[in-house]
Point group: C2
Chain length 463, copies 2
């Protein structure tokens, strides 16, 4: 399909969406994305590195990255001339500046797991590649070394975060536990790709029981060669929280607003990436942020209900059973999907229902109703947990008749738990508990994943 | 499973989660949910109707609905006495007050499709039932009849909105088209359940082409017997927009904040229910709201890019092919799910990827990579469209190498389109266009589902 599509076939991957006229001109001057070029137009001159055209509808706009890191688009006209100045930018070499540190500073360990915070633009391909070593992440952050000592800086892997799953989660949890239990440190920072940071923060919240100190995940939404790079401020704040805060919990530290100002701290089970590209993409869902970190390092606590630092070891419970599934409901979704999962002997399913926790029931169109398949799942001893695709708010089995009927069949309503958190909790409970305790454990708050402080009154009225 | 669970087996559906002690006391006094009771405690007296206990952990709190519509919970102690005053509240009879209307007022038609706006609490079951006729929705809104005449008030069906799918969408679209093309009206209002209102508003935006006047969906998050009922203000505002505004588009009118103050107007393809219970649950995603309606009926337009009223007929294109699927990606999701859909000969699939539009690719764990299955789908002529589970922001095929590879295989990146809107657009395009035009049509803005005004610069930098 689409292989013969006109629009698509004219795009050359190196140049992206540039028009064939522009590509002809660029080729004639031996200019590739990444090359430093000079653009002259109406007596004005701009210098920067050519970027792949990533936007449909802007085929005739030449995009360059200016020296200040910002991109600018110039519409190519008859008055425009282009000149190649030099080949691609070379990445400078970085060195970790940890040598002259005082022994009296708080100590943390840093684990790097890939992601944009550890990435750079590959101008030749126009894409971002994962290439930095953990030491490189620290380059340009000398101020951090006046406050904090690094006990250990370890590179675990450098996948895109969409490729992390149970083996990586287990490995991260194991490494965190060993850093905490075997070293004399104040906290742990984990750099992580942002796309699945909320998933990893949720599963670590369960795998790291009795945590005695902060474990802070952080990352970057913008890559490190850009003026808008957010990785540095995020990493500084995350390191300060790990080194100095009183929170003994898995937390995510990312921008609070799109300004490079306050960094927001979210509980690992209550956070979700809510924008593809903004620096303040991470939102705390169904509770307040745990705290804010000001540019000068002041940590303001915003909620009471967060575990405090303690002595003692973290208790590692990092088994995970991935014989699970998440189903997002939509109108008209065929219940045979659930039957397929039942036939594959999954042990548990999280449903992301509509509203307060609905699935289609169609009293008059029985073959499209989900009720018989849900009933079958429960009869076959498969756990069925209900969450909401609204993400915000609480599912509730007693408001509508259809919901009461789901509840009576045996569907487990998971309060205000995020669907993604519920899925990973399910895999964790299956891996670490007896099956007979599954439902009770799922419905019990273990790592702040259920916010008990939103009471019935608020829920049912004008909250 | 769970049939032997102690907690569950003690719950009687009528009383919900009340403890067995409380249920014993209630039964001894012949008190059922819905009955008016008097509670005495420490010399204080409260009167209200008993409500089913809907909250785990509050088994000993007696919940009553006060006369002001609010619920209150009283912890039952040794000092508490209960007295039954009378049986259940009777719903009053309503009558439509449309008789004495002037002929010079703007005319609209109202279509009712069920949902909370057309619901009432069934105190006996503690649940909400769909029972009101469309005339009943208007009871208590006499002010509306000074401004607007109703050409037609029609009850289409009263399902819970989770049970609406293609047949109902077709029917609503047909009825709207007939109201517009056959009558002399200024606009149409559709009352709808909130859970899937965003789905219905999206599909109607496609099915009703060349719309010459406003079609406004509205509903209620709180039921009509509550002090916090939002259906009346929503319906008044929706009716005013249908009767008087200049917008020729499918719109959703729901609370702007949790106050009963401004009502927010969202484009039908850009709106999503983002809270299970709040009155301001509906958020416009990836653009500004179309407008706000003040309590006195003033309509303030907030964006320019919205079609204007015109003469002429609506062009009904209400075919829908539901041989489609939406897959929400999570770390570790098995690509066999996609193969299952391919084997079932779906014609198109929308992927709700992570971040900028990722699926697992695992360069070193090939049997869990989604790349081969996506490749297979595209080779078998199945459309694969990419959206983001971040909901906000834009997917983008050129930022990361893994994305470029998806793009080169033939995955269609759907910009800032909501996953749910993309799914319904897919069914609509399949139903109404030649298959060879599918991808181009999906990538083209038809009903405001792609916001072209967020340009590359904003996207890539600090938006």
């Amino acid at each position: 399909m689409n292989k013969d599509n006109d629009i698509i076939s004219t795009i050359e991957s190196t140049y992206g969406y540039y028009s064939s006229d522009i590509i002809k001109i660029l080729k004639s001057k031996d200019i590739l994305p990444g090359d430093k070029i000079e653009i002259n137009q109406n007596d004005k001159t701009l210098i920067g590195n050519l970027i792949t055209q990533n936007e449909l509808g802007s085929e005739n706009n030449i995009i360059i990255k200016l020296e200040n890191g910002y991109n600018i688009g110039i519409k190519y006209t008859d008055d425009t001339t282009l000149k190649k100045l030099s080949g691609s930018i070379k990445l400078e070499d970085f060195k970790i500046k940890n040598a002259t540190q005082s022994q009296n500073l708080p100590k943390i360990s840093l684990l790097s797991t890939g992601g944009t915070i550890a990435s750079r633009i590959d101008y030749q391909s126009g894409g971002v590649v994962m290439a930095m070593k953990p030491e490189e992440i620290f380059a340009g952050l000398p101020e951090l070394f006046k406050e904090i000592t690094f006990e250990d800086v370890k590179h675990l892997f450098s996948f895109g975060s969409e490729d992390l799953s149970k083996n990586e989660w287990k490995k991260i949890a194991e490494e965190v536990a060993s850093q905490i239990n075997d070293n004399d440190i104040n906290g742990v920072v984990i750099t992580h790709g942002t796309d699945t940071m909320g998933y990893t923060s949720a599963i670590l919240s369960f795998m790291l029981q009795d945590l005695p100190m902060p474990v802070v995940l952080t990352g970057a939404q913008k890559s490190s060669d850009r003026g808008s790079y957010d990785g540095a401020t995020n990493l500084i704040a995350a390191s300060r929280v790990a080194a100095k805060s009183d929170f003994a919990s898995v937390l995510v530290a990312m921008h609070h607003t799109s300004d490079d100002n306050y960094i927001q701290l979210s509980r690992g089970t209550k956070v979700r990436k809510m924008h593809t590209s903004r620096r303040d993409a991470f939102q705390t869902i169904n509770e307040s942020p745990v705290g804010l970190i000001s540019p000068d390092g002041k940590i303001t606590q915003l909620i009471d209900d967060i575990p405090k630092r303690s002595d003692g070891n973290v208790h590692l419970m990092n088994k995970f059973d991935d014989n699970i599934a998440l189903i997002k409901i939509y109108p008209g979704i065929n219940p045979e999907l659930l039957d397929w999962y039942i036939d594959r002997n999954v042990k548990g399913i999280i449903i992301e229902g509509t509203g307060l926790g609905h699935v289609p029931t169609y009293p008059d169109k029985t073959n499209m109703s989900w009720t018989p398949s849900i009933q079958r799942a429960i009869e076959e001893n498969i756990y069925v947990g209900m969450t909401s695709q609204c993400l915000n708010g609480r599912v509730h089995p007693f408001v509508y008749r259809a919901l009461r009927s789901n509840y009576q069949i045996g569907v487990s309503y998971l309060q205000d738990m995020l669907p993604e958190t519920a899925l990973l909790k399910l895999g964790w409970v299956l891996g670490n508990y007896d099956y007979e305790d599954l439902r009770a454990t799922m419905e019990q708050n273990i790592a702040g994943e259920i916010n008990l402080s939103i009471k019935f009154k608020e829920y049912s009225q004008n909250e």
